[in-house]
């Protein structure tokens, strides 16, 4: 007589322990990867958060008709007006070296800023006006507390004399930290205090637009044909293997292809989102095709068979009944592919998009750069203040990546039919 209960209970405690061990190992793995993620996010946010604030210095400039002709604002020398104002604020500064330090407290953009403020508001003209201008990168580092004043003067970027001047300005309320709108509304610059991400953001958007317009219709077209209509033979096997291989090809290879074909043979303009988008489309195509085929395959064959049985042609059956059900999966694949393309730099290097571009591009035929390229260029810049910009640009890129992936998930949740 076999005691089933006893047999079923045989080693039960041990099996339960193994179960618990496995589950704890799984939780541990998730915890460790989460910890890495948190460390990464915290360090990036800590480095980049400062970008929200920007130091400004107030200068009292003379804008009488002698200095600035109201009829002809562009003719005035705002640089000398600015320097005069700084000398007035610190009359004790007289040596050439000291003066250079004084002028270095404000950004090289400051003279242009005064001009712009006057153009926006001509009522400022005539008499003395106190205007806020952007502080230089080194002054900003001091004002935001990133300079270690304990160090000997020689080891600091900001000298004792500059610190004394900045302390005086701070005490008089002539220096402040304000919201840094410029970071989001201006293009790249070699001066960290005025460098912004708008040009690279616009470049990325235009590039992705071209990439999407090219790769999405082509990708789902290829997927539909291969999955629903193509005869299953050696040829289609070969194509399938090649598509899977292409998905694993390093992205720089697509850049080289773009260089020789799009730029070389077709003679398209260098550094433009058009070519960038075309290259990235080549890279995204396999991803979209594979995801779309998987989406088509997940639709139960009964849908198609029912349509065919009722007299629909194969094209009607696929387009009216299979495609609408598979669409969310295809879109998800496309968005994931786009997110991948958004983070690419290597292929863009080959086609000239790793470039210093100040102007914000407005069409796909204007030279542009992309967000990850901007991060790469800023990370390479010697100026210390670019560290903050680099981290901030990474935050912006991550935000867009997370948004895109979120949209992919929401789309799937909302539209997906479960069987």
């Amino acid at each position: 007589m076999i005691n089933f209960t006893q047999q079923a209970g045989f080693g039960l405690r041990r099996r339960k322990r193994a179960e618990a061990r496995f589950q704890w190992a799984g939780r541990g793995a998730i915890l460790i990867s989460l910890a890495f993620l948190v460390v990464m996010f915290v360090s990036i946010i800590r480095d980049g958060a400062g970008v929200v604030w920007q130091s400004q210095i107030a200068v009292t400039v003379e804008l009488s008709a002698d200095e600035v002709d109201p009829e002809n604002i562009g003719d005035a020398s705002f640089n000398s007006i600015l320097k005069e104002a700084l000398r007035e604020a610190f009359p004790e500064v007289d040596s050439r070296k000291e003066k250079k330090r004084l002028y270095g407290l404000v950004s090289s953009e400051a003279a242009f800023e005064i001009e712009r403020q006057i153009r926006d508001n001509p009522a400022l003209l005539g008499g003395m006006q106190t205007l806020w201008v952007t502080a230089s990168d080194d002054a900003d580092l001091y004002i935001s507390g990133q300079v270690d004043t304990e160090l000997p003067e020689k080891q600091r970027r900001v000298s004792d004399a500059e610190i004394a001047m900045l302390d005086q300005l701070l005490a008089d309320g002539m220096a402040r930290e304000a919201f840094n709108r410029g970071f989001f509304t201006s293009g790249d610059s070699r001066e960290p205090e005025i460098a912004g991400i708008l040009s690279s953001l616009a470049g990325s958007a235009l590039t992705l637009l071209v990439c999407f317009v090219l790769s999405f219709p082509l990708g789902i077209g290829a997927a539909i044909y291969l999955e629903e209509f193509a005869p299953k033979n050696r040829m289609s096997d070969l194509i399938e293997v090649n598509i899977n291989n292409l998905a694993a090809v390093p992205s720089i290879v697509f850049g080289l292809l773009g260089l020789s074909i799009f730029l070389g043979t077709m003679g398209l303009p260098r550094s433009t989102p058009l070519v960038g988008g075309m290259v990235l489309a080549l890279m995204t195509l396999p991803t979209i095709i594979i995801a779309s085929r998987a989406a088509l395959r997940s639709v139960p064959p009964s849908f198609k068979e029912a349509a065919l049985a009722l007299g629909a042609t194969p094209v009607q059956a696929v387009f009216h009944h299979v495609l609408p059900v598979a669409m969310p999966g295809m879109l998800t694949g496309a968005i994931v592919g786009m997110a991948q393309a958004l983070g690419e730099t290597a292929p863009l290097l080959m086609i000239g998009m790793v470039a210093f571009i100040v102007d914000v591009p407005t069409s796909i035929l204007e030279p542009a750069t992309a967000l990850p390229v901007q991060i790469f260029l800023w990370a390479d810049a010697p100026e210390r203040a670019f560290t903050e910009k680099t981290a901030a640009a990474i935050i912006v890129l991550l935000t867009f990546l997370i948004l895109m992936n979120l949209i992919a998930i929401l789309l799937r949740r909302k539209l997906e039919t479960r069987f």
Binding site: R157, R190, T387
Partner: protein, 345 residues
């Protein structure tokens, strides 16, 4: 949309896309060295702001890559200017000539010092070029007129005055122009302090070059990538290591790292400018003369770059870390640029 209209639209879009490059460029196109990039972009930005011309586009492709693009043809679809952290080679001039690029204007813009730095908190060390060569070359003299694979693992084995720490130098990879310049100026400079090696130069130039330029591969020299900021960060984390990078990074990070004295000279702005500091290289850019007048603004850009405001001793490029040429040399080069006199090798 009728089928015919659709075809029409498609054809128009396609032709527009393919025919677009035929339109003339209205901005200057610059490629080349990543070392010259910070200076070139600074001038480009100021030029764009202070004139009515469009801001030039500056690509960072490396000196070699830049010259290859520059020499790939004479049409407006090729770059107008290329930056280089070394002088153009005669093979590159030939390549240019083959592709119809004949008149090249050379402009020397200044110097860049290469420093060997370690983290603050250590004593600054004093190295000679010979010490650097013995520490980093693959094969070194064994003291009896022959070569041996580099046996040194500690600095004080080379020179008893140096600290007793492991030789560990972080520097750029072979693809970098900084590495080329470092090999040529520092390693070769130390290499030829041995008379018999110097004599070798006349007999067997190839062997001499390979001996003097080859860096050891046993882990004492660590290729740390092209990003100099990364090297500075690694030095902070590893106080015993030394790093090789450009002077502007030393200047910006003086609160983290210090430059070693080389042959008794500190890597300081004035000392590099005077030519006292031994590891300094010249920076150049090259202009296609045929593009002057075709692409708008080239002459004005050149004038801006060679103005005292830019490359002078108190110019804005000096603030960015460019070591200016001497007054005479600046006058000389500015004159050449003004008359667009062609390159002579």
């Amino acid at each position: 949309m009728s089928v015919r209209l659709k075809t029409l639209v498609t054809t128009t879009v396609l032709t527009a896309a393919i025919a677009a490059p035929a339109i003339a460029r209205d901005q200057i196109n610059i490629v080349g060295s990543s070392t010259v990039f910070p200076f070139s972009t600074t001038v480009a930005e100021r030029f764009g702001k202070s004139t009515d011309f469009a801001t030039p586009i500056v690509e960072s492709t490396g000196s070699g890559g830049g010259l290859k693009l520059f020499c790939s043809g004479a049409g407006v679809d090729t770059p107008d200017i290329t930056n280089a952290s070394r002088r153009i080679k005669s093979s590159e001039v030939e390549l240019c000539a083959e592709n119809g690029v004949n008149d090249i204007v050379e402009v020397k813009i200044g110097f860049d010092g290469i420093v060997l730095a370690n983290a603050l908190g250590n004593d600054p060390v004093e190295l000679s070029l010979q010490d650097i060569f013995l520490a980093l070359a693959k094969d070194v003299p064994n003291g009896e007129g022959a070569l041996q694979p580099n046996p040194y693992t500690m600095w004080n084995e080379i020179n008893p005055d140096l600290p007793a720490v492991k030789i560990e130098v972080l520097g750029p990879p072979p693809t970098s122009g900084t590495r080329d310049a470092f090999a040529e100026l520092a390693l070769e400079g130390g290499c030829k302090t041995f008379d018999w090696i110097k004599a070798m130069k006349k007999e067997d130039k190839a062997a001499y070059k390979s001996l003097c330029h080859t860096v050891r591969e046993d882990g004492a020299y660590v290729e740390a990538g092209e990003n100099d900021n990364l090297i500075v960060q690694k030095l902070e984390a590893n106080p015993n290591a030394f790093g090789v990078f450009g002077y502007s990074f030393l200047e910006q990070n003086s609160d983290k790292v210090q430059g070693s004295l080389v042959d008794g000279v500190e890597p300081e702005f004035e000392l590099i400018a005077d030519g006292d500091y031994p590891i300094a290289r010249s920076l150049y850019f090259y202009v296609k003369k045929d593009h002057v007048g075709v692409v708008p603004g080239i002459e004005e850009f050149l004038a801006e770059f060679t103005s005292e405001d830019a490359w002078g001793e108190d110019g804005y490029l000096a603030d960015k870390g460019l070591i200016p040429l001497s007054d005479d040399e600046r006058d000389d080069w500015a004159e050449k640029v003004k008359s667009l006199s062609p390159l002579s090798m």
